[in-house]
């Protein structure tokens, strides 16, 4: 009797396995999304994942990609780089062929290095890495690989935009560099130092700080004191997540007036923590679009409204949308679900931008290029910033356009192309 049951169970298992195996080629296209979903950085990771899932949902509602749906599989790395490595291995074991990640360049570097080995050893089973936000410059320069595509402008491009904007601002004379001590923050600092010295020699760097990253520092007051002492009139920072939010609040609490230039200072995940403290100092960030522009075209307004309905806020980043749209186009063009074919199709592909500007994936280094805008946070003038159904009564105001030609930089990338 026992034997029969055992045989039956084994047989049942086989059928299930077979069914699952079959599903892999007919079922949804799975994309593993590895981001922090617990710990101090959870809020940021959650926003990225929700943005990507919504973008996939929109594609799915319009019939999917060649008859298949896109399924985003969130994986929580708790902002620990070794966990990212482990999760990537799990995704590979589960037969997932596409991975996206963005929160934290140290994680991205792990994925790039791991996939470089894996893809060269497993031809025909390659994994494609869609980098949604990890911006360390080297990923599309000396560390570039064929199966990595970056859908966000890199640090050099962003800093070039910021510095060109700063050089036009007469009130900026003494700048303090304030960054996180890991691969991304170090890159930001080096690039900023180099570009200020070359392109804006009138601006003096009066301070240069690398802090312990990822929410380990609770009290930023000592750093604020230091900035005050240095006599800086502006701070240039690449900080993101709590390392940016707590800093903004500490500046407000200590009543220290400086202009803040950065990329991620006004991330929506920090809105509830900062609220109007964001307006205490001038905060200027560079972005691919203005999230509070009410004059966006209708198709985008629809997308935005759906996003607000689905997750309770309007998109703060546009890249998740064009990333998956380009991914979809690549599959439809090649009529293949193979990462190798998709990768070739993505090279040089153009995406759809909101304001008619160009969005193009450069073939040489797999780095996306698009126009950027310098945005200042102000009291509500246009559409309002809404996050998790709370209206913050603030808007972004465009204080300068940064055309793509100003931030198109040479690349040292010399990648090996398979086949």
């Amino acid at each position: 009797m026992k034997k029969i049951i055992f045989t039956l169970i084994s047989f049942g298992c086989l059928i299930i396995f077979y069914a699952c195996e079959k599903k892999e080629t007919k079922g949804p296209i799975k994309i593993a999304a590895i981001e922090p979903l617990s710990g101090p950085y959870a809020a940021v990771g959650k926003d990225i994942i929700e943005g990507i899932i919504y973008s996939a949902d929109v594609i799915n509602q319009n019939g999917g990609v060649n008859g298949r749906m896109i399924e985003i599989i969130p994986m929580d790395n708790a902002m620990k780089a070794e966990k990212t490595t482990e999760l990537l291995r799990k995704a590979i074991d589960d037969g997932i062929r596409f991975v996206t990640q963005g929160g934290g360049s140290s994680h991205a570097l792990n994925i790039i290095k791991q996939l470089e080995k894996y893809n060269s050893r497993n031809p025909g089973k390659e994994i494609l890495y869609l980098n949604n936000s990890a911006v360390t410059t080297s990923f599309t320069n000396k560390d570039c690989t064929f199966f990595h595509f970056r859908f966000d402008s890199n640090v050099d491009m962003k800093v070039a935009g910021l510095v060109s904007h700063m050089s036009k601002d007469n009130s900026v004379k003494k700048v303090y560099l304030f960054n996180q001590n890991y691969v991304y923050g170090q890159t930001f600092r080096e690039t900023a130092t180099r570009m200020i010295n070359n392109k804006a020699p009138d601006i003096k760097i009066v301070g240069d700080e690398l802090i312990q990253p990822f929410g380990k520092i609770q009290d930023f007051t000592p750093y604020v004191t230091k900035i005050k002492l240095s006599g800086a009139d502006s701070v240039l920072t690449g900080n993101w997540g709590p390392d940016a939010f707590r800093f903004v609040n500490a500046l407000k609490d200590a009543g220290v007036k400086v202009k803040l230039f950065g990329i991620y200072i006004s991330q929506p995940a920090g809105m509830a923590a900062m609220e109007k403290n964001l307006l205490f100092n001038d905060v200027i960030v560079v972005k691919e679009f203005n999230p509070t522009n009410s004059k966006a075209p209708n198709w985008y307004k629809e997308y935005e409204a759906g996003h607000l309905d689905a997750v309770g806020y309007t998109p703060d980043a546009d890249r998740f949308r064009f990333m998956l749209e380009m991914f979809k186009n690549a599959i439809e063009q090649t009529n293949s679900f193979e990462p190798l074919d998709i990768a070739y199709a993505l090279e040089g592909m153009e995406g759809r931008s909101i304001d008619g500007g160009k969005v193009i994936m450069r073939k040489d280094d797999h780095q996306i290029h698009f126009d950027m805008q310098a945005l200042l946070l102000v009291d509500k003038t246009d559409q309002s910033i809404i996050y998790r159904n709370q209206d913050f009564d603030m808007s972004y105001s465009n204080v300068g356009n940064i055309p793509v030609k100003d931030i198109t930089l040479d690349t040292s990338c010399n990648m090996k192309r398979p086949k």
Partner: protein, 317 residues
């Protein structure tokens, strides 16, 4: 650095130090008196912060300030009575493992109840204004409030332990539990109360700090290690030691952040030069401010080598 700025830095150092004191004073009592290395101590701090948030959302901050620590204290006493006490006979390793497990259970519970993302715990409106201004920098009223409360707590504990009969019994239970029991005192209950009180102190620290440093499930993990540094440096069971160690750590950490000196500047001063491109430059160019996060642990090692009983301890660790 002007004198005024130094005053500002010292105020901040003091504030951070007093925060550490509140966090660790409970542990020094528990560790010193019962010998329990409570790994979950910072978890009680976290529960305090979350309860503080929840009660101030539903009622108000002042009620939270009183009742959240009490709830945490009751919880701690219950855990001692129904958990730790039964394990006590199996020795310290069993207790250690128990609190280790407790740490994870509390973290998971908090995530189940309040979610994995930070909760919006706000500083009470009435205290949300700059109190004093020192050379262009202001000191928030809420920070001063925290400083005052923690000082009052120190005075209260110190007085109870040094001047009252309760303090006498607690101290006696530590050294001669059998004799105290023979005199008719309920020693296990004393232990329960001390454990609960220690947890309540951590809870109070949580209520007061959660709205400044951010209330989220990994806060216990981030603050766990530093608590042990304070307890060991100050000396087991010594409230005075915990205070002095906390303030030393607070001041050192705040001051080192403000200093840009590195080994290179010392080497240059001595008349030598390090090649910028050499490997050794990676180490010698580290500034004191970059090293500030590890300063407390360096202090811990120095104390363990030079004076294993800590600054005010009566016995070795």
């Amino acid at each position: 650095m002007s004198l005024e700025v130094l005053v500002f830095i010292i105020f901040n150092g003091l504030l951070y130090g007093m925060f550490l004191f509140m966090l660790s004073s409970g542990l020094t009592l528990i560790f010193g008196m019962m010998g329990i290395l409570n790994f979950a101590h910072a978890s009680f701090f976290m529960i305090g912060a979350y309860l503080g948030y929840q009660i101030s959302e539903n009622i108000n901050f002042w009620i939270a300030l009183i009742f959240a620590p009490m709830l945490v204290g009751i919880m701690g006493a219950m855990i001692e009575k129904y958990g730790l006490r039964n394990i006590h006979k199996y020795g310290h390793i069993a207790e250690l493992l128990f609190t280790f497990g407790l740490f994870y259970i509390i973290e998971e519970m908090v995530q189940l109840i309040w979610g994995k993302t930070p909760v919006p715990y706000k500083v009470p409106e009435i205290l949300n204004f700059p109190l004093i201004e020192i050379s262009g920098m202001s000191y928030p009223a809420y920070s001063m409030f925290r400083l005052v409360i923690s000082l009052l707590i120190f005075l209260a504990i110190y007085r109870v332990l040094a001047k009252t009969k309760t303090g006498l019994i607690i101290k006696a239970s530590l050294t001669n539990p059998n004799m105290v029991a023979a005199l008719g005192h309920n020693v296990p209950r004393v232990f329960s109360n001390v454990f609960g009180f220690g947890c309540a102190l951590a809870g109070l620290a949580g209520v007061l700090a959660g709205n400044v440093i951010g209330t989220e499930p990994s806060m216990a993990l981030l603050l766990g290690p530093i608590v042990f540094v304070v307890v060991v440096t100050g000396g087991l069971g010594s409230i005075k030691g915990a205070l002095v160690a906390s303030i030393i750590i607070g001041l050192i950490q705040t001051l080192t952040i403000s200093m840009e000196y590195d080994l290179n500047s010392l080497i240059n001063y001595l008349g030598f030069q390090i090649d910028i491109n050499s490997t050794i430059n990676h180490f010698t160019s580290l500034t004191l401010s970059q090293l500030s996060p590890i300063v407390p642990y360096i202090l811990l090692i120095i104390v363990l080598i030079a004076r294993p009983r800590g600054l005010f301890g009566k016995r070795d660790v």
